[in-house]
């Protein structure tokens, strides 16, 4: 035991001889023995040292033992300090000693029996040592508790920070157990799917999101469980029934039996990529069409001219002239095809007033025979004469395409319904012209629907070029218009309807002019096409 760890025993007596004898008695207790010749000196020493027990002579001049004990008890630090009074046994003294309610107090009578003194002091010393140890342990415990509390606080802060981060993420972050029951649903998931967390927690995830897996759902789930993670794109449904495509990353936590999932909405991105590919394909088609047109038109003109010269040659007899004429007719057909399908050739550079009603009537007259052969009844109503600014040839082509498609869809009879009217367009602040062409033919298969306006898409194996609707859409779009279609089944009949919307008469004609003067302002002043 080191000097510092030794306990201190304070001995207070006015007689030096007694102090010496106590010292001798207590020498082998392995304690520091501090001697005081008076109560005052004793109190001073008490303040300087951590004392385990005070050996206190009752009868001392100046401050007697009891007075000193009273003073000690008033000081909080010494309230528990053990006091061993040394006194000649007097009844009044014993009563007084009993009066000390708190703290360890004992007495020893004179003459002092060394063994008794040693035994009593050592009990107090031991008591002190124990309580000191206990104090130390307590203190240590307190620091550890404090430390742990601080660590807990720190990790709690960290967790809260992480949780806040999860809420900040725009990705949908969810946690579910192996059976799919949701246990976590962040703000990103609320935004993406439209479901509040309290509506979905505790429910199976696939039921809520209607997830479509690229592969069988059980096999992707087993991949997740066996490999611990799964990455891929999924098609899911939002609360309002919208389909979203998400890039999903899932991790399986074996220890807790839960699946962590982060889903990023890539719908817009995928749609944009699709649209871009589509646009690029259309642009490429357009370029190819232009090149083909040029390459065909050049020799076509030469051949047509050759036949023209041949037919007009004076040496030709009637029969030869007839053959040349047949050739010319067929060449005119080729010319018609390149003109109609390979680019948007216009005869005139200026838009003129075009009556869509007249155009449709023209087309119907052309198709009158076909309507009769196919036994198609016509139901036509115009609520306007449909006059707009534009180019008759291309507008005629739009309605020729739609009407002949409708007729071809009804080889065994049906009903062709044409409606033309105007509709106020809130967005553009103008009156739009709406024309719908409906047939009761075979309908449009859903898988064909999205390809309908693509070039070279046709359901008419040999008859169609697959360019009609593509060209029509291109023409209508140049007018800032649109073509929509619907195919429904009503009372066992397929009804297919194409609706063409064209910006209306005035004041929209201004917008139309600007579209058609794309050649520049000088176009209108140049002496072009004034024939």
């Amino acid at each position: 035991m080191t000097e510092a760890q030794k306990v201190n025993i304070l001995m207070v007596d006015d007689q030096p001889a007694k102090l010496l004898s106590y010292e001798a008695i207590l020498a082998n207790l392995d304690a520091n023995l501090i001697k005081a010749r008076s109560g005052r000196e004793g109190l001073e020493l008490l303040l300087k040292h951590d004392v385990a027990v005070v050996l206190l002579d009752v009868s001392m001049p100046e401050i007697n033992g009891f007075e000193m004990a009273d003073m000690m008890r008033q000081h909080p630090r010494f309230q528990k300090t053990a006091i061993l009074f040394i006194s000649a046994v007097r009844m009044s003294d014993l009563d007084r000693i009993k009066g000390y309610q708190s703290g360890a107090v004992d007495y020893i009578s004179v003459p002092v029996v060394p063994e008794v003194l040693r035994a009593k002091v050592s009990v107090f010393v031991e008591l002190h040592r124990k309580s000191r140890e206990l104090e130390n342990l307590n203190r240590e415990l307190e620091t550890r508790v404090e430390q742990r509390t601080r660590q807990l606080q720190e990790s709690e802060n960290l967790l809260r920070e992480r949780a806040d981060l999860l809420e900040l993420a725009s990705e949908a972050i969810l946690v579910r157990d192996l059976s799919g029951v949701l246990t976590y649903w962040n703000a990103g998931a609320e935004v993406l799917y439209g479901w509040d967390r309290n509506e979905v927690l505790g429910k199976p995830v696939h039921e809520i999101l209607g997830t479509e897996f690229p592969v069988e759902s059980t096999s992707s789930e087993s991949t997740l469980v066996s490999r611990g993670r799964w990455d891929g794109n999924l098609v899911q449904k939002t609360r309002d029934g919208r389909e979203v495509i998400v890039a999903s990353r899932q991790v399986y936590k074996k220890e807790v039996g839960s699946i962590l999932e982060i889903n990023r909405d890539i719908t817009a991105q995928i749609r944009a990529e699709e649209a871009l590919r589509q646009t690029e394909r259309l642009a490429a088609m357009g370029r190819v069409a232009g090149i083909i047109a040029h390459e065909i038109n050049n020799p076509l003109e030469a051949i047509t001219n050759a036949f023209y010269l041949l037919r007009n040659h004076p040496s030709l007899n009637e029969e030869a002239r007839y053959y040349a004429q047949l050739g010319e007719v067929e060449l005119a057909r080729v010319g018609h095809i390149t003109k109609q399908t390979l680019g948007f050739y216009r005869e005139s550079q200026h838009p003129v007033n075009v009556g869509i009603g007249e155009i449709i009537d023209d087309v119907l007259q052309l198709q009158a025979r076909q309507l009769l052969i196919n036994r198609i009844s016509l139901d036509k109503k115009y609520f306007t004469d449909g006059e707009i600014r534009g180019f008759p040839v291309e507008l005629r082509q739009v309605f020729l395409n739609l009407i002949s498609n409708a007729i071809q869809a009804m080889p065994y009879g049906g009903n062709l319904r044409i409606r033309m009217g105007t509709r106020w367009n809130e967005a553009s602040g103008r009156q739009d012209l709406c024309v719908s062409v409906c047939d009761t033919g075979g309908g449009i298969r859903p898988e064909h629907a999205k390809h309908l306006f693509e070039p070279f898409f046709t359901t008419k194996a040999t008859k169609g070029t697959g360019l009609g609707l593509w060209i029509s859409k291109g023409i209508v779009q140049k007018y800032d218009g649109a073509i929509h279609f619907r195919s429904i089944t009503f009372k066992g009949k397929n009804i297919t309807s194409f609706r063409v919307t064209l910006p209306g008469v005035s004041p929209a004609s201004k917008g139309l002019e600007s579209t058609y003067h794309a050649l520049g302002d000088e176009t209108s002043r140049a002496p072009l096409g004034h024939l």
Binding site: A293, L300, A302, N305, A306, L309, L519, G520, L531
Partner: protein
């Protein structure tokens, strides 16, 4: 209309189509001079009077519209007709009096030439 004294300068880099176009115009009664390129055409115009220029659009050494622009700069009243196999009207087509597609055929071509010439005669009085 008197076509016998009307001179048309016909420009095309391809020989066969040029010859056939010339023959069609001659059948109609016009006097036809041919040139195989835009610079050729400009040289001829410098040398002799011409009533109308009919030029192909896509040619090496200068397009039809470029030729039309050069002609109009020097002879603003000279009628120029562009004939092209391209279905799209070229962006600088405004320098020419008329843009006509090759698929229109010889009859339409002759009709339009005749119309332009008579419109010009009227305006010149």
């Amino acid at each position: 209309m008197d076509t016998y004294n009307t001179f048309i300068l016909c420009v095309d880099d391809e020989e066969l189509p040029l010859t056939l176009r010339k023959l069609v115009l001659e059948l109609e009664g016009y006097q036809v001079i041919t040139a195989r390129s835009a610079p050729d055409a400009l040289r001829i115009l410098d040398d002799r009077p011409v009533d109308l220029v009919l030029t192909d659009q896509v040619m090496p050494g200068g397009t039809g519209t470029e030729l039309a622009q050069s002609i109009k700069r020097k002879w603003p009243d000279m009628p120029v007709i562009l004939i092209s196999g391209i279905n799209e009207v070229p962006p600088d087509a405004m320098y020419a009096d008329l843009f006509i597609s090759k698929v229109e055929g010889p009859a339409a071509l002759c009709a339009k030439i005749s119309a332009i010439l008579s419109a010009r005669r009227c305006s010149l009085g």
